[in-house]
Amino acid sequence: MEAAQKDPTKFAELYESNFERVYAYIAWRIRHREETEDLTSDVFHRALASLPRFEWRGVPFAAWLIKIAANLIADRLKHRHYANRLDPVGDDPVDRSLEAVERRAQLFRLVDRLPVDQRRVILMRFAEEKSIREIAQKLGRTEGAVKQLQFRGLENLRARWDESHG
């Protein structure tokens, strides 16, 4: 953190350790992909710009980022009508939502550690929202094989999740 304040290029490390968290928070509040990407980008750009002014007063950096995100979401809601895309619990105070967000972020990170072909399918299916047929074409495999990879990928995630949560 202090390193990043002195040298903004170190910001990359803070980004790496917080990206999933911030994204998961925004995705949970605003169930719309483009809007989520837009806001995530906004959060980090603002954080970078105001990094020199961030004061270490016991507030963890992650919480500071979530705070920025919450403010930006509130802002956007004022100016645009995104109410229909809001989670019913969208007005939850930041603190209560953090635990669920943290779990979601951990799950996203676990995807990164799947074997490469399972990871590819899970990313194409859930992040890019491609159909099994599209994925099969893109990877040059049968639809049956892709479904099998999806199945093994989710099973694997489930096992790894259980492992890290007892």
Partner: protein
């Protein structure tokens, strides 16, 4: 109701989940109860971020961060001579005069400068293609300037965005270029073609197919853009940022982080790069053993940038100094084997004055060069070879050769008739050379071989091999030793373990594109023989409690042979090897002492090698050879 497989049922659940993006607890179709936890997981995965979004945002942030701290290289007053940009490709060619003539016909190049040397070679020339200057020279091996045939290819394409790629392709073909990738629409929004000129340099031409891409590339329209192949794309991007103050414009990475394509801005120019992919003929300078293309940078402050590059890890080939032709420049090799000249223009010198100074320069250089003496000594390992070359023999040798070309992108380097009336051919696959013999009047016993072939995309190469008639041994699968691998048998009975290592480099450290894999009975005996006969080094050994060797690697000279004890379907496949060594006679004697039997005594061969042959106790055949004179190919 027909019973649906679990993976089918799960997919129906996932479909339902994805169809209701805004519903916290979506309604799900009936499915077996044990799938419920996976369906819940799917619900939580709905907001999974796209991989490329994460990388793109990171790049954006880094660029903002950099701009906030470092002053960006200003482009206002540049010591860049008229007509030049920051980046200029510098091509070394075997026949520079011929190349200039070819580029005139093929690419409508105009010659702007030519400096002949006293011996007739072109010391330096400049041509204009589109909006770019391109520098070129004849070969000067004594100064590190080598052409594509000497290097064995090129790790740098010269890429141009043009308005009509088809016209460029047609004209180049008519002038004698060889098509590597025929002009066609690509799914990334460009119409693209790639070709090799008669001098071995490679050129790419693209026309954007949509307005977006046209906008993105408008700065580089008709500008010669070097496209570098590097062993590790991500590391290279970091290095170029640090060394040359490059900024990242875009990066496309696969899930393993391997760079499929990246674009970096240096000063007012752009360079592109990608990771190596031997099966598409994209080899790094490290696998080729050099580069015939130097990247020339004109910069504001040459001394500062040079020391920045050295600090980042560049190797000095020639320190920064004032040059007689009016530049102050130095020459550097980056950690990925690419060569850079960093220059600032310090004095305007007319071509006549340069020629005059060049004469003076040459007469001062000459005595020093004479002292070095002639460099006629024949190298113990011929250009492009390594110590160990597998020699595949087959009755259908010509068909095998075609298969290797089609399935693995092998490049045919030589085809001739051997002493026994069969074909002798040499091919390169990735960074490795192989010899192939047989067919025709040859009546010897074929020796099918097992080989470990590293490629950037196992699945694609596996499919392609099957299409071309190979039979499957096993489908691509992730292995617990960190590779994805598949097995095929070709029409001559050779076994190919096609593999891609996970991580940014798809070939493991120490190995090559092609590696021999032995399955002997008594692997420790083989290792012992190789140690005594060929001074082999044991690099790795994984053995069971009873001493059975599951996997071992031994190094002979600069090459590694892999092996594992014969078991199950993996039975011994005695292999024929061709070894290039300093002293064939001595190696032959040592092999006999270690227990080998003689096949042929050392003797000078008409093709320029002194060669002897032995058979080891495990039936492997080893030819040891020392080049004694250069014989022109064919």
């Amino acid at each position: 109701m027909a019973k649906r497989s679990l993976s089918q049922q799960l997919d129906e659940l996932v479909d339902a989940v994805l169809a209701q993006p805004e519903v916290p607890e979506p309604a799900l179709p009936p499915a077996e109860a044990k799938l419920a936890p996976l369906a819940h997981l799917a619900i939580r995965l709905r907001g999974l971020p796209r991989q490329d979004f994460k990388t793109r945002l990171k790049t954006d942030l880094e660029r903002s961060a950099n701009m906030a701290t470092k002053p960006v290289m200003t482009t206002k007053v540049r010591p860049i001579p008229e007509g030049f940009r920051t980046v200029t490709p510098y091509l070394c060619v075997k026949d520079a005069a011929g190349a200039i003539e070819f580029y005139r016909k093929a690419f409508e190049a105009t010659e702007t400068l030519r400096l002949p040397m006293p011996d007739g070679r072109i010391g330096h020339a400049e041509i204009q293609i589109g909006k770019s200057r391109i520098m070129l020279s004849d070969e000067f091996p004594e100064m590190g300037a080598v052409s594509p045939p000497s290097v064995g290819g090129s790790p740098v394409d010269i890429h141009f965005y043009v308005e009509d790629v088809d016209a460029w392709g047609t004209r180049a073909m008519a002038a004698g270029a060889r098509i590597l990738v025929p002009v066609a629409d690509q799914d990334y929004g460009e119409r693209y073609g790639r070709l090799e000129d008669p001098f071995g340099h490679r050129w790419g031409f693209s026309t954007p197919l949509n307005e977006d891409r046209a906008q993105q590339v408008r700065e580089t329209f008709y500008v010669a853009t070097p496209y570098l192949v590097v062993a590790d794309g991500a590391k290279a991007i970091d290095f170029y940022k640090e060394a040359f103050a490059a900024t990242e414009l875009m990066r496309l990475a696969d899930p393993d982080g391997r760079i499929a394509h990246a674009e970096l801005a240096i000063g007012d120019s752009v360079i592109m790069l990608s990771g190596a992919a031997a099966e598409y003929g994209r080899l790094s300078p490290q696998s080729l053993g050099g580069t015939p293309v130097t990247i020339h940078l004109y910069v504001e402050n040459v001394d500062a940038l040079a020391s920045q590059a050295v600090e980042a890890g560049a190797k000095i080939l020639r320190p920064v100094q004032d040059q007689f032709y009016g530049d102050r420049s130095g020459r550097f090799e980056d950690p990925f084997g690419h060569v850079w000249i960093v220059s600032a223009h310090i004095e305007d010198v007319t071509p006549e004055e340069i020629r005059h100074r060049l004469d003076g320069f040459m007469s001062r250089q000459a005595p020093a060069e004479r002292q070095q003496g002639p460099t006629k000594r024949v190298k113990p390992i011929p250009e492009g070879f390594h110590t160990v070359t597998p020699y595949l023999t087959a009755r259908q040798a010509p068909q095998l050769l075609e298969f290797l070309k089609g399935a693995f992108g092998a490049e045919e380097l030589l085809r001739t008739t051997g002493a026994a009336g069969g074909m002798h051919a040499e091919v390169r696959i990735g960074d490795s050379k192989l010899m192939i013999g047989g067919g025709g009047a040859w009546r010897g016993t074929p020796m099918p071989t097992a080989l470990h072939l590293y490629v950037s995309d196992t699945d694609a190469v596996y499919r392609h091999a099957l299409e071309l008639g190979a039979t499957s041994i096993h489908e691509p699968m992730d292995q617990n030793y960190g590779e994805r691998s598949a097995g095929v048998k070709d029409l001559a009975g050779n076994t190919w373990y096609i593999a891609t290592k996970f991580g940014p480099q798809y070939i493991p450290e120490g190995l090559r594109s092609v590696n021999v894999y032995l399955h002997p009975r008594g692997a420790d005996g083989v290792i012992d023989f190789l140690k005594r006969a060929f001074a082999a080094d044991e690099v790795a050994r994984y053995a069971g409690p009873d001493g059975t060797i599951y996997h071992a690697q031994v190094r002979i000279g600069d090459s590694v042979i892999e092996m594992g004890e014969a078991h199950g379907p993996y039975q011994p496949m005695p292999t024929m090897f061709y070894l290039y060594v300093e002293d064939a006679d001595a190696w032959y004697r040592r092999a006999l002492q270690a227990g080998a039997t003689s096949i042929s005594e050392p003797a000078d061969q008409p093709y320029g090698d002194r060669k002897a042959g032995v058979k080891d106790p495990f039936d492997n055949v080893w030819y040891v050879a020392t080049p004694i004179k250069h014989v022109p190919m064919s």
